[in-house]
Subunit: 112 residues, 2 copies
DNA sequence: ACAACATACAACCAAACGGTTGTATGTTGT
DNA sequence: ACAACATACAACCGTTTGGTTGTATGTTGT
């Protein structure tokens, strides 16, 4: 039960950090967090094929970092700030682990 | 000048997010944030070869997420919380971009 | 001195990644 | 109806990734 949820969380983490590990994808994410953009509007901004940009958008979508909604023949992509926050909270957990270590050191120093 | 700094930052971001995109590496990072561990002590914890774990440690080190110090024949790895914070601040920048969008929407709604 | 240990690194391999081109499927405007 | 547009997706290709084994180098304790 617990390990299954952890497994799912780790999988989400894998997908999110992987999605964020590419420059073009981070740039796309900035644009779609600032506002809705169609896939072709996004593609115009980069020096690569439409298909390449479309794949990057798909990676971000699979990671949950953006969602798409249809508007006529266009697919409008929009950044999901909640997903960004969930990545932040994973990092906050890491910082929390570190703080525990520092607290242990402080306690040791004060008691000796 | 500015673009060179951005280039360096993007490269750091690439390395950090890539380092964080692997389960085993995130787990290693948790351990070394909690306290110093030798590479072989870390390797004992995982169902893979010593060399594989050593490579994971090297990836985390190149990304600046951990540092090593020699102690006799051991190499003690320690997590760098500042690097974790710098990743957090990249995400905070994304959230800031999103907030700008929301503010623009709010302003529009109030003025109309 | 030397055996055991801790680490690093090269060479190799299958799988995944980031890009390409080409094709299929909807949607729009005339 | 149909030409143009917007998107999706398959097939392919060179590079990178995450793993392996084997070997070299340094350090320790007896």
């Amino acid at each position: 039960m617990l390990s299954l949820m952890d497994e799912a969380n780790e999988e989400r983490a894998d997908a999110m950090f992987h999605a964020l590990s590419d420059r073009t994808r981070r740039d796309i994410l900035r644009r779609v967090l600032a506002g809705e953009h169609s896939v072709s509007a996004l593609a115009e901004r980069y020096d690569m094929s439409f298909a390449a940009v479309q794949k990057h958008v798909a990676v971000l979508e699979r990671a949950g970092l953006l969602t798409k909604r249809r508007s006529g023949r266009q697919q409008l992509a929009s950044g999901d700030v909640e997903a960004v926050r969930s990545v932040s909270s994973m990092l906050a957990e890491l910082e929390h682990i570190w703080r525990g270590r520092i607290d242990r050191i402080d306690t040791f120093l004060k008691e000796n």
